[in-house]
Every structure is written in C-alpha cells, then in structure tokens.
C-alpha cells in the first residue's frame, strides 16, 4: 500500500502528449507547484488542462501556457492572466469556460460514478448551447456531463504513505473533487508522514483516490493579491 514516489518527475511518469489533466488550486492557492514545474520541464505538449484558473503569466499553469504546452483549457475564470486572455482572444488556445460550481460538480461526479446531472447555472446563456434542458420544480436546468482525467494532480497540506490527504484552509478548493476524478491521481504534499500518523477523523481525501504521493519541496506559495489592513 506504499504509494510514495521520490519526486515530481517520477510522479508525472506516464503522462504523454495530448492527455487530459486535472490540476487543483484556486488562483495560486493550493496549486501543485512541484508537478507544474516538472511538466514545464518535461516539454509535454497538446495537453488539455482542467483547472479553475490558469495561474498568472509566470507562475502556476501560466508557465505551461507560456511554453505553448496546453492545447485546451477547461476553466471558470481566466481574468488576471494576460497571456491566457491573449491566446484565448487570438484563438491560439482552445478554451471551454464553465460555471465554477458546475466545474466542481462535474469533477466530483466524474469521481463518484455519476455520468451526468442537471443544474440551473447557465440556463439562457451561451453555456446552455447544445445542452439538453429539463424543467424541475418549474425551473429550467441544463444536463451537464461528468469530467474525468487521465491524471489528476492535486496539492495537499499533509498526506501519508497510503495517500490520505488533509488540505489547509482555502487551499482545498478544487483539489478534493479533482483527486476523485483522475484515472491516476498524483498528490504532492507539504508534509508526508507514515500511515497511522494522521487522525482518520480529519482526512479530507481518503487514500483510495490517490495512486502516487510525494513530499514536495521549495514551496513558494506565491500570493497573487496581497491585501492587508
């Protein structure tokens, strides 16, 4: 049951050109920094990335965008990343924008074995184009399909050798749902401990969802918008 790999480079082994990846995080909070750096170094290309945002110009998934390693982004919010917006507007990058709650639920559903579900978000907008509409309790809903990925890459605060994960504060965000939806889920953690050291009552992601785990290093944990009193 030992799922520990040595480092990010070993963790991303098996990812190949054209694959679909889920990448956890919200803005720059809770992003798998080590794996993103390893992907940037790998030169892998034609990737489809499912991630709420795309980092900033020089950090997070912005690193992969800059090197044109991403063919398609599936996200809810691209603001504050000029390179993303430029590639989107010029048509160099294929982008599917999805309401944030629908994106989270599509990931969760993918991991939970629910192929599709109905939500009201996006009714009457361009998000609804081509989607089946049904009315429940007098309100129109869109049929949304689950998302899965060849690899889901998440970041947690603490993890153990069985792959159990605990997130910290708002760095959980998309990591928990995405961890469920990867055919292979890679977790990088700030602190890796032997199985048995984490309190089972506090686990957010049970180890069954995680195939590879490693102790990350040199976390920059960059703050995108520092605001103080």
């Amino acid at each position: 049951m030992n799922k520990v790999v040595a480092n990010a480079r070993e963790a991303i082994e098996g990812i190949s050109d054209g694959m679909t990846l889920m990448v956890g995080g919200f803005g720059l909070s809770g992003i798998p920094e080590n794996c993103i750096a390893a992907l940037a170094e790998s030169g892998l290309k034609e990737l489809t990335c499912i991630s709420n945002n795309a980092g900033v110009d020089d950090f997070g998934l912005g690193l992969l965008l800059k090197k044109r390693q991403i063919r398609k982004m599936i996200s809810s919010y691209v603001g504050e990343n000029e390179e993303f917006e430029r590639q989107l507007l010029s048509g160099e990058l294929e982008v599917e924008l999805i309401p944030q709650g629908t994106l989270a639920e599509r990931c969760r559903a993918g991991g939970a074995g629910i192929p599709a579900f109905f939500v009201p978000a996006g009714y009457g907008t361009e998000v609804a184009e081509g989607k089946e509409i049904r009315t429940f309790n007098g309100k129109p809903h869109l049929l949304e399909h689950a998302l899965t990925a060849d690899f889901a890459i998440v970041k947690a605060w603490k993890g153990d050798t069985h792959g159990n994960l605990i997130y910290r504060n708002t760095a959980n965000n998309f990591n928990q749902a995405m961890a469920m939806a990867g055919k292979i889920t890679i977790a990088e953690v700030e602190e890796l401990v032997p199985a048995g050291e984490l309190d089972p009552n506090q686990i957010h992601t049970p180890g069954i969802f995680v195939q590879r785990i490693f102790q990350g290093k040199d976390y920059e944990k960059r703050i995108e918008r520092l605001t103080e009193r």
């Binding site: 691209v78 009201p120 998000v127 965000n173 928990q176 918008r225 605001t227």
Partner: protein, 218 residues
C-alpha cells in the same frame, strides 16, 4: 451627487438582516462587509471554500492558503469553516445562501444580467457568477448606472453575453435603488441630490415612478 463606490456598498449593507449567510462578489460588493449595521450578525461565504470570512490580515500576517474568491488574502472569524469547491456550490445551488451581492456590466428590465464577457475585447470568465445568479433566492446588483462614456447600463435588453436570465431583483447604482418587477424597473430611492428626471435620462429602459421617490438615507 452620484454615490461613491463606498456609498453604494453602504446602501446595500442596509439590505442585510441578522443571521444572513451572504456571498459578496468581487469589486464594490466586497466593500459591503465594511458597513454591516451595528447589532446585525451576518456570516460571509466565499465560494472558493470558506464561511466566516473576516477582514484583511494585519500587516505581515497574510497566509497564502487563506484567500477570498477575488484571490485577496483574508482572515477567518471564530466559528468559520473551510470546505471544498463542490460543497461550497452545494450551499449556493441548494439555496442555503440568503443574499448574494454582485457586480454587472448590464442589467435588463426583465432581470437578465451580463457580467462576464465583452466579445472580442475582454474575457474574464464567469467564475461562480452563473451558479450564483441561477440559484440565489435574493440577489442585489451593485453597479454604475452608466458606463464611463455615458451609456446607460440599465437596458430594455442586454447587449452583452448573459450571465443569467430573469434573476435580478434589486439594483443599487450610483444614482438609484431600483426594483426589478414583473412590469420592469421601478424606482425606489434616489441618490441624495439626484432628481427623478436625471435617473430617467440615465436609464435606457422605461422606469416606473410612483409618487414621491425618497432619497437614500445613510
């Protein structure tokens, strides 16, 4: 005088009721937290995964793992909680949030809202706005009545890609408080010193005006 952004937030804060769970969008809506009336307790929800959002941290105390939906560093108040994005939107979609305040590029007299995209020019993405407007029981829009070049943003029909349809109930702009009724925009209050005629002139859609329209009180 047209209201400042702070005054728009201050007026919206009067909509808060004791015990409300409230989601505040990015921009002017965020400022509402600064004007919660005395004696009223509300819990702020941030859709990236927090209830009990507190003020910005003291200098040097910012935590990269503790941000709001606008990616700003914040704090958490006693009694707060953290959760993942799908749980967060279960709160929103499930109708557990009492009041949502968000910004807009345009609002139509039917209650349609456009707020996420200007084709060919700007795409920020909808973030959580489509989920929020589709499910919130009670939505207030905070916005400027007109664009910088004087074009009305309160329209018969939105011109920009929509965020949601028939969902907005109330608008607080720099000029007026307006209710979206079955019959269209109804003027409820004026900004201090702004006349009914000035508001009509700044509103492309028809404005329903009944009797004397009071000035906003602060």
């Amino acid at each position: 005088m047209a209201l400042s952004k702070e005054q728009i937030a201050q007026r919206i804060a009067q909509e808060l009721k004791n015990g409300y769970y409230v989601n505040l969008g990015i921009g002017i809506p965020t400022l509402v937290a600064n004007y919660v009336p005395e004696g009223i307790e509300v819990v702020l929800q941030s859709e990236n995964g927090m209830l009990g959002m507190g003020p910005f941290p003291e200098k040097g105390q910012a935590d990269p793992d503790l941000i709001n939906a606008g990616k700003q560093t914040v704090t958490v108040l006693p009694g707060g909680s953290f959760f993942d994005s799908s749980t967060s939107f279960a709160m929103i979609r499930g109708g557990h949030v009492d009041l949502t305040v968000l910004g807009a590029f345009e609002v139509s007299e039917k209650g349609d809202i456009a707020s996420w995209k200007i084709p060919g020019k700007m795409v920020k993405g909808m973030g959580g706005a489509m989920d929020l407007v589709a499910s919130a029981k009670n939505i207030v829009v905070a916005m400027q009545h007109c664009s910088k070049d004087g074009q009305s943003k309160l329209l018969k029909k939105c011109t920009l890609p929509l965020t949601g349809v028939r969902c907005i109930r109330k608008i607080v702009s720099d000029l007026a408080v307006i209710e979206v009724t079955e019959d269209g925009f109804k003027l409820l209050e004026r900004a201090p010193g702004v006349s009914v005629d000035e508001i009509i002139a700044a509103t492309e859609a028809r404005l329903i005006v009944e009797g004397d329209v009071p000035e906003m009180k602060f």
